[in-house]
């Protein structure tokens, strides 16, 4: 399959940090796949995602998105990406509708089209009755669902999800995962997903990469990784590769 994202020999060391946050990582994400990026806390996932989004420049290596780089085509690269941060990146004093209208306009979507997309997405995720309520009145699961919609209003080619189901109830988690699966299968949207829910990752992701201490430990198709490591689940593979030592720093 054709690659959407190619990361080659990527390294990033923060000033004053003792070692690189990302160390010579190379990953390929194919178009239309759901790619799980797993690793313990402080492994370098957030730094890698930040560079992929164009927030930081790497010290070494290159990232191409649909054969374009942030250095030469920043605007186009950013337009191809949708980001759903781990935090609820919404304005709590605004309603869901106001938040999504603002963020959609920031992506340059025309008002009529934007209204249509917001209405449709809120309806799919069961929020149509709460459209004009302030975000501060929402439950954790409702906030997560609006947070997700905000990242895909502009129909990105690559949707980056940083722990999209953390802290939500089972019903909301189910709704979010089903919605993402539909986006992937029906629209062919490529998804990059990070999570500490390894069972969820195994169920959801077609491909998985595990990084630890800034280095890529392994990557491949989910089922292939399980069988190659002679394990029963991704969780076993993960523990086998990363060990059970705490990563407190």
């Amino acid at each position: 399959m054709e690659a959407l994202v190619e990361i080659k020999n990527l390294s990033k060391k923060y000033k004053d940090a003792p070692r690189p946050a990302v160390n010579n990582v190379s990953i390929t994400i194919e178009k239309g796949c759901v790619f799980g990026l797993l690793g313990p806390n402080g492994a370098g996932k957030t730094t890698l995602i930040s560079m992929l989004c164009g927030l930081f420049s790497p010290n070494e290596g290159i990232i191409t998105i649909n054969r374009k780089t942030h250095q030469s085509n920043s605007r186009e690269c950013k337009q191809m990406i949708g980001v759903v941060p781990q935090e609820i990146a919404l304005y709590s004093k605004l309603t869901a509708w106001e938040n999504l209208m603002f963020l959609g306009h920031m992506y340059g979507i025309k008002t009529a089209e934007l209204k249509e997309r917001i209405t449709k997405n809120l309806s799919i995720l069961g929020l149509e009755e709460n459209t004009h309520q302030k975000i501060s009145t929402y439950s954790g699961g409702m906030k997560r669902r609006v947070n997700l919609i905000a990242g895909l209003l502009h129909n990105p080619q690559l949707l980056i999800l940083d722990e999209p189901t953390v802290g939500v109830d089972v019903q909301s988690k189910q709704a979010i995962i089903e919605y993402l699966k539909n986006l992937n299968t029906e629209l062919g949207m490529t998804i990059l997903y990070t999570s500490h829910h390894l069972e969820e990752a195994e169920d959801f992701c077609s491909h998985i990469a595990i990084i630890d201490d800034g280095k890529l430990i392994t990557q491949g198709k989910t089922k292939q990784l399980i069988s190659e490591n002679d394990c029963k689940s991704i969780e076993e593979v993960y523990l086998k590769i990363t060990g059970s030592k705490f990563r407190d720093k």
Partner: protein, 424 residues
């Protein structure tokens, strides 16, 4: 469209933030009302008829009435006459009921006239060789008026008042001497018709405020406090603005916005335009307080001068500087608490230095020199220029340039800090 939506978003966020609105609009209104009322007496004491003065008149003759007339004519005093003892008068002044007390002893006018006559006789007799024999013996001590001052009276003010009273008394003495001279001349030359000696001062001074276009607006607590506390409030918006920036950073909104194509600059621009508009609304509101609310409380009405457009240009420039400062505080602070504390303390220091609390013209020389580093002082000087001196753009442009430079410096520092420190 992006910019409009960004401004609309900021407007919505701001108008739903009750604490932010209170800081932005209610705080300066309350400050202006309270501080203006408190400072009104201080400003009046140097500018208007408000010095309470007690006269104990046991003379009941021409000196007392001339003195009272002259003091009243100076429009400097609110005069009360009482028939009490010296000790009682002293007590009333000591308790602060009056700032000054004057006791005029019995027969002062009579003795003054006699003394004047004696002096004139002595002078004329020295020409003719006669001796004074028919004059009644009079008290040879100098005539004495007793002045009491409230102990809180500043030395400079006490000296000014003493000099004024001495000057009035000198004139009365002079008139008395002239009257005696006229009488003696009449007695000595009964068939002549000499002209009366004129006692009007030979040297007079003219006074006016050295302002442009013959403006004679006198500084008062309203003319100082309205622009001063409006500027303070404008700079205080650094707290809600910095809080807004930090919240976006903490809740991931800044991260999301930074991943959007070219949007974050528009978001920042939207914030700036919104908060500059807030500054202008604050300014308009405070002008209304000065024009319509303060007079209802017995305070003078704010005189806005002749150039309202220029006033709004100064307000816009101060708003720019305040917004730049808010962006800087929001960028370099790591938490909302840090921004609130740092922003508030820094604005209070800049206000104190800049003459917001105590006008720079009553500050010691060293503080006057230090005050020029405060952007609040630049704004205040520009407002003073327009309000009190009828300055135009040509005169106040150095203050405007300083405010714009401050804005550019804080804005550049924010972007450099964001780029090279936060993103390193």
């Amino acid at each position: 469209m992006k910019l409009l939506y960004s401004i609309y978003k900021e407007y919505k966020v701001l108008t739903r933030d009750r604490a932010g609105l209170a800081i932005t609009f209610i705080m300066p209104t309350v400050l202006i009302l309270i501080i203006t009322l408190i400072q009104d007496t201080t400003f009046r004491s140097v500018s208007e008829a408000s010095v309470p003065l007690l006269i104990v008149d046991r003379d009941n003759d021409s000196l007392a009435s001339s003195l009272e007339k002259s003091l009243a004519g100076s429009k400097f005093f609110v005069i009360t006459k009482k028939n009490i003892t010296n000790e009682q008068a002293k007590n009333e002044v000591a308790h602060g009921s009056y700032l000054i007390g004057i006791v005029i002893p019995e027969n002062t006018s009579k003795n003054l006239r006699k003394k004047s006559t004696q002096r004139i006789s002595k002078l004329l007799n020295s020409f003719t060789g006669d001796t004074i024999t028919k004059d009644e013996p009079i008290d040879t001590n100098r005539l004495q008026l007793q002045l009491f001052f409230d102990p809180i009276t500043k030395l400079s003010f006490k000296t000014t008042i003493s000099n004024s009273i001495s000057s009035i008394i000198s004139q009365i003495e002079m008139q008395s001497m002239a009257t005696s001279l006229n009488q003696k001349m009449q007695e000595n030359f009964p068939y002549a018709s000499p002209q009366k000696v004129e006692t009007a001062p030979l040297v007079i001074t003219t006074e006016e405020y050295a302002s442009y276009n013959n403006s004679t607006i006198i500084p008062n607590s309203v003319q100082h406090n309205v622009p001063a506390w409006t500027l303070f409030a404008m700079f205080f918006i650094c707290i809600p603005l910095a809080g807004n920036i930090i919240k976006e950073r903490e809740d991931g909104s800044a991260f999301r916005l930074l991943t959007m194509p070219g949007s974050y600059m528009i978001v920042i621009l939207g914030k700036m335009l919104t908060y500059i508009s807030v500054s202008l609304i604050q300014f308009g509101l405070m002008l209304c307080v000065g024009l319509y609310i303060l007079p209802l409380m017995g305070l003078p009405q704010l005189n806005v001068g002749d150039n309202v457009l220029l006033l709004f240009l100064v307000a816009f420039s101060a708003g720019l500087a305040a917004t730049g400062f808010g962006l800087l505080v929001g960028t370099i602070s790591n938490s909302h608490d840090q921004a609130s504390l740092f922003g508030a303390v820094f604005v209070i220091i800049l206000a104190a230095i800049g003459g917001i609390w105590v006008p720079t013209f009553v500050m010691p020389e060293i503080m006057k020199q230090i005050s020029v580093i405060s952007p609040l002082n630049w704004g205040l000087e520009a407002f003073y220029g327009i309000f009190l001196r009828n300055f135009g753009l040509k005169e106040i442009y150095p203050e405007l340039i300083r405010l714009w430079f401050f804005f550019l410096a804080t804005l550049s520092t924010s972007f450099l800090y964001q780029k090279y420190v936060r993103m390193r």
